[in-house]
């Protein structure tokens, strides 16, 4: 009998150690739903937070700003809807010390507003209005300590501003003298869904922005003071959709020219020339939905650099194409999605060398919802 009791105790104690050892999966696929069918979300951008989770920026169909925090496993943690005094948020998220920031506009006069998100306190606060700079279109890093803001002034058109680390404006440059630019931009947006963006390369020596200018939707190069040095003008109503630059002065472009979607994985950037997008010599992307975002992301897999091109396909899926950054050759293709249509919104590398894809999905035929999907590094490597 003693032997029998000892046996039971040994079995119980040895097995109980493992009950908490079930590991969570790195991969996740989360659709954030609202029981109210009348609410629709339009996801815009995401950023990975210090705790490994994700902040998602979205706008609702009532034009309200919606921020959602998901855990590193894609679980819902918290969400906030901002006061209706602020509307139309724009990507990108930026991080400054412990907090996260994005730009929106006031509903009263469309003044650009910097919004601070405190992840720990779960708060959204408008902390600075850039008076006189209206209708923000794009916001992103110039370098790790300063930022670029693109706005659309109703009387002169595009304005590029450099924002310092403390969020004061250092300089602002206008490029054209067009009147009634808001109306012209609104007219353009009726039949086009272009991507506005700003950025920099060469350690901040070359800046670029993408917006509507007198000759059409134009990609513009400037020096580090915002003086225009070159441009890529549209070919037959086309536009540049996205760009990823490398340290050796090369870039990968998604663009539309002559009514066709194209991708150029490896191109020497001519920041002092003025060319047309038809000169970029890209390869056709016949399955791309040209009025939806196409994004490029430089990643590294097994110490080899790759360029990941992602876009929404005509059948409502997201297509990922991996190109070797050294040779420019296509290495792998992966499709995401099935019955519920997906629209790509953002794609980012994660700290553990995976990727997260933010998209809008329509579930049950009517509900426009935020979809956040993570692909771990191992799965990306297996694609090759």
């Amino acid at each position: 009998m003693r032997f029998f009791v000892i046996f039971i105790l040994v079995v119980f104690t040895s097995c109980q150690k493992d009950t908490e050892a079930f590991l969570p999966t790195e991969k996740f696929n989360s659709i954030f739903d609202n029981p109210s069918e009348a609410v629709a979300y339009n996801p815009l951008d995401l950023i990975q937070t210090q705790d490994g989770g994700y902040l998602i920026l979205a706008s609702s169909n009532s034009q309200q700003i919606f921020v959602l925090k998901a855990s590193s496993r894609g679980e819902f943690l918290w969400s906030k809807t901002m006061s209706s005094a602020y509307i139309q948020p724009i990507g990108n998220w930026i991080r400054n010390q412990e907090n996260y920031y994005f730009v929106a506009q006031t509903i009263s006069d469309r003044t650009a507003v910097l919004v601070e998100v405190d992840d720990l306190e779960q708060t959204l606060k408008p902390i600075r209005e850039y008076t006189g700079y209206r209708r923000p279109l794009a916001f992103d890093y110039l370098n790790p300590n300063s930022y670029l803001l693109l706005t659309n002034n109703d009387t002169i058109g595009a304005v590029l501003s450099k924002i310092q680390e403390g969020f004061a404006m250092e300089w602002a440059r206008a490029f054209d003298k067009i009147t009634d630019t808001n109306a012209k931009l609104d007219n353009y947006l009726i039949s086009n869904t272009p991507q506005f963006f700003v950025g920099a390369y060469n350690n901040g020596a070359t800046l670029y922005f993408n917006t509507l200018r007198p000759e059409g939707f134009t990609f513009t190069f400037t020096d580090d003071q915002g003086i225009e040095t070159g441009r890529i003008a549209p070919a037959n109503q086309g536009s540049i959709n996205s760009i990823a630059t490398t340290s050796n002065g090369q870039g990968a472009f998604n663009y539309v020219a002559n009514g066709q979607s194209l991708f150029s994985p490896q191109l020497t950037l001519r920041n002092n020339d003025s060319i047309f997008s038809s000169e970029l010599n890209g390869e056709l992307q016949p399955d791309r939905m040209s009025n939806k975002p196409a994004l490029v992301l430089p990643i590294e897999l097994s110490t080899t650099p790759y360029t990941l091109n992602a876009y929404t396909t005509v059948d409502g899926r997201i297509k990922l194409s991996l190109y070797s950054a050294n040779s420019g050759e296509l290495s792998a293709i992966e499709y995401i999605g099935d019955n519920d249509p997906l629209e790509l919104a953002a794609i980012k590398a994660t700290e553990d060398q995976g990727i997260v894809i933010l998209s809008k999905t329509t579930i049950a035929g009517v509900r426009q919802r935020i979809n956040l999907l993570k692909i771990p590094k191992e799965e990306l490597v297996n694609l090759l």
Binding site: L23, E37, F76, S79, I363
Partner: protein, 292 residues
Amino acid sequence: MFRLIVCLFLLNFSVGVKAQSTFDKLNKNPFKQTQWYVGLRGGANYTIVTPINRFGIIKPTDNADQELYEKKYQTVENIGAIYGLTAMFQFEQKFVVGTNFSVGQIRFSYDQELPGEANSITFSHQQNFQYLDVPIFFRYMIRPTINRFWNRSSRKPEVPGIIPFVQAGINFSVLLDAEKTVTQSIRQGEIEAEGFSFTENVNELLNPVTAGIFVGGGFRFRLGNVYLTTEANFRQGFSNVTDTDRRFANKNLVNNAYDVFDDKSFQTFEFVVGILVPIKYLSRREFIPVEI
């Protein structure tokens, strides 16, 4: 006189030697001090699922709605069948060590809702897994210890006809087959309609081998030369049933039913009846088994 005494002494000695030799042969024969049994067993089980980490596709956008989107594990329709072979070795009057080769059916279901003000969609998930259960267990027979030595009248020691027992063991389960059926239903106000339904093999989403322990008890009844056993056991799984690396591998379930498995273990109550046949006999001609 002396001769008579010597003769009586020798006669007595020879009778004594003859009697001791017969009993000692039986009592000291190691063959009759242990017994092997083989048998058949069958019964039913009832499974309770314990989610360890919850996973899903559909999540809320507000804390107040968290519970609406959680899987709701059902407590009905969780009854499965269990059947197979058993083998045991009784090495002492009170102790038996044994193993089974049983096919155990694990059935459980859960519902997940996509709640809506106008339309609510419910996905019902019915799982049917089959495992080959291979436990190693010790059984303690609750019975008095009896003197194994036969007396000179050659009467066999009396073993109780009904013996209660308790048992405990380690269980290893090898996945044989796993299927799940998803049924969609749509509710609009008072009207409810059936949507799609499909069945998927989900072997690839599960760990091929899981482990656990079990404890239980029952009774052994002597029926002639064989034994009938009834037992009730409680099994506690200690392994994750779900393969964490393959959780999202079934695209049909992910994309059409918004479903991935939770990390989970099973608790199972099982009720089994078995027939045990001893395989060591004192007399094969008369089928008299060794009984200890």
